[in-house]
Amino acid sequence: MNFDLDENQTLFRDSVERFCAPVDVATRTKMRRMDGGFDRARWSELADLGLIGIAADESDGGLGGSILDNSVVAQSLGAGLAVEPWLECGFLPARLLTGTSYIADVISGECLATLAFAERGGRYTLDARAVSVRNGKLNGEKTFVLAGGAADLFIVSANVDGATKLFVVPRSAVGVDVRPYPVADGSLAAVVTFRDAAVSDPIGGMERLQSAVDETRIMMAAEMVGCAQRLFKETLAYVKTREQFGQPLGRFQVIQHRMVDIYSKCEAIQSALYRAVLQSNTNAEAAKAYIAEEAIWVGQQAVQLHGGMGMTDELAIGHGLKRILLLSKLFGDPASGIAQFAKAA
């Protein structure tokens, strides 16, 4: 029974913290305005630190980090409010592309890969319907392709004779059209349309997709916990210093009790995350859903307690809430995740 980070995990955490530390809100905003929504040079830096490789198997040239190792990275990136799409273009592709020739460039940071899975009308389902492959040609439209504005490589779920398979398509391929649009966290997602785009054999099917998504849900949970804890800390510091009606906000009993509620939720979701990471039979979708619901509440309260300033883009608070909102819905929202758990029980 032990909830301490080991030596390597501590190194990863410190490494992420150092990586995130220099980025203040203004710099963050500047990076969001860059082509693709973040700084590719920093992405390379992240790769050089081994923080993408950690998600890949050793046989793929990665560090073969455990789920726990990776969750430490995800949580630290959450606490650092990083703009880099580690989860979307690091962890998830590393899990999906294992054993393929693409993975080396993903680990090195040279190739930015992303999963194109969502389809209009599919809500949160994972199976591909409208996008299909026939005779080696990919057709159809994917939406909500995260980091789609910057991605070099799409991993596309497509229907083949009624089954969902995964195909790899470079952005530069003929018949690929990318229409970027901004989403909650300030990143650029895209609607991606395929018109007779040529594809080779699939790299896997529903099983690989489901398993990678489930692991990614744990990383999303970890990132949200990190985000929520960051917002808690900033809010605690704020109420201790901000004065209203002649005393710090934190002297008002209502604010005190609210802070205890926030603290309580932060501890609860940290515990839920540990459970999801350490107990292999945990339902990842439900854990993520629960953590998401509480993290949203923490984010909303952080905005509320910061008052007008919390509403602006000038503080980290709104950025944290918006990242939580995006993660809370990726691969299913709180209601759908808990409903799924309720039915499974």
Binding site: G307, G308, K329
Partner: protein
């Protein structure tokens, strides 16, 4: 007890409906529907304002002698309700509903003659200088000072959350004219022209990507002494009048209920991904139904207040709850909308406006595109104009006697 309107009121309602039907152009409707923030941009409101002004229905809160339509409380309610249901654009409240009534009440004949017509015509566009960086909900601790020098006040300091200051040519501000006096006693209510070198306006972009509010800085800005409303030191009294005036009859529920109807219609269209549409999702529909119950109850609370006002009686303690309750229902509605639209509800356009030809193409529907900006902007409902926490303390003291 009786919840029905009189025959005269029903006839008036028909008149309003016909008018709205005739005058609300598609452009106006679109501008109103596709504005995620609370304040609608002048390019939309200007036209609507001039249509209403022509009809004499613009300054509903002003006495008839200054251009008000001379309506009863019930007529005002009916007009606002029909506008909400028809989807008319919100008017610029700062001139019409805030400073206008103050000038009607406290202004000199010259001030009335000068300012009121220009508010009606839209020639003057007003913003408000109340909050300061160091004083959010705690207004009385404001620091911006106005020193009298000859026939002018020289203003130094800064105001924050100045909505549409970047559009306005006038600002009404609470300023400290007497630094010696006790907190509230040294405050005056001053009108200041915006178009002068001593004033600079810096945008504050919200997390929704809207530019609605600003920080406004006064560096030896000037205003002539005849722009003082009331006496020096009377500012706090005037500010209180302004707030109370704002809190008279209200008509927030009809818009909330209309929004819930729209969500229900959208739910019928939004695929559940499994089979059928989201109107068969029990969890989402339970939330929708629960919210509707709240909003329907809230509608009656507003009518209870109206019934008192219509009889010339004081509005009763429920008035104090209106802002609190409506803000919270609205935020729940915004949250539900974002949830309904799944991934499409996560798009967050960076450019404005979201109507007309300049609007970015939505992913999915226009409604989905508006969901998240509206939600994020709407977090302000429980903050601005006295946060929930401040409201509750006031109600506890003034209504419950705690």
């Amino acid at each position: 007890m009786d919840m029905s309107f009189s025959a005269e009121d029903l006839a008036f309602r028909e008149e309003v409906r016909d008018f709205l039907e005739a005058k609300l152009s598609p452009r106006l409707r679109e501008g109103a529907a596709c504005t995620p923030s609370v304040f609608v941009e002048p390019d939309i409101t200007r036209d609507w304002q001039s249509i209403l002004n022509e009809k004499g229905w613009l300054a509903t809160m002003w006495p008839q002698e200054y251009g008000g339509p001379g309506w009863t409380a019930t007529q005002k309610y009916i007009f606002e309700k029909e506008c909400a249901i028809a989807g008319a654009p919100a008017l610029p409240v700062l001139g019409l509903k805030l400073v206008g009534p103050v000038i009607c009440k406290f202004g000199t004949p010259a001030q009335k003659a000068h300012f009121l017509p220009r508010i009606l015509s839209g020639e003057d566009y007003w913003c408000q200088g109340y909050s300061e960086p160091g004083a959010g909900s705690d207004l009385a601790s404001l620091k911006t000072k106005a020193e009298r020098k000859g026939d002018k006040y020289v203003v130094n300091g800064s105001k924050i959350w100045t909505t549409h200051a970047h559009h306005a040519n006038w600002i009404f501000a609470l300023v400290r004219t007497n630094p010696e006096a006790k907190k509230q006693e040294g405050i005056s209510f001053l009108l200041i022209p915006m178009d002068q070198p001593g004033i600079s306006v810096t945008p504050i972009v919200t997390m929704a990507n809207d530019h609605e509010v600003n920080a406004t800085f006064f560096d030896n800005a000037e205003s002539r002494v005849e722009n003082l409303i009331g006496e020096e030191g009377q500012g706090w009294t005037i500010a209180k009048y302004l707030l109370e005036n704002e809190r008279g009859g209200s008509c927030a529920a009809p818009a909330l209920l209309a929004e819930l109807d729209r969500i229900e219609a959208w739910a019928k269209e939004e695929p559940s991904g499994v089979n059928g549409a989201m109107d068969h999702d029990p969890i989402l529909m339970q939330r929708l139904a629960r919210l509707r119950m709240e909003a329907q109850a809230f509608e009656i609370t507003e009518l209870r207040i109206l019934a008192e006002l219509a009889k010339g009686r004081p509005a009763g303690p429920q008035t104090s709850l209106i802002k609190l309750v409506s803000a919270n229902i609205r935020q729940s509605i915004d949250e539900l909308t974002v949830d309904l639209f799944a991934y499409d509800g996560l798009q967050l356009p960076t450019s404005r406006p979201l109507y007309g030809n300049e609007a970015p193409e939505p992913v999915g529907s226009r409604e989905a595109q508006l969901a998240l900006p509206t939600y994020l902007n709407g977090r302000a409902w429980t903050i601005f104009g006295g946060s929930d926490e401040v409201q509750k303390t006031i109600i506890a003291k003034q209504v419950l006697g705690l």
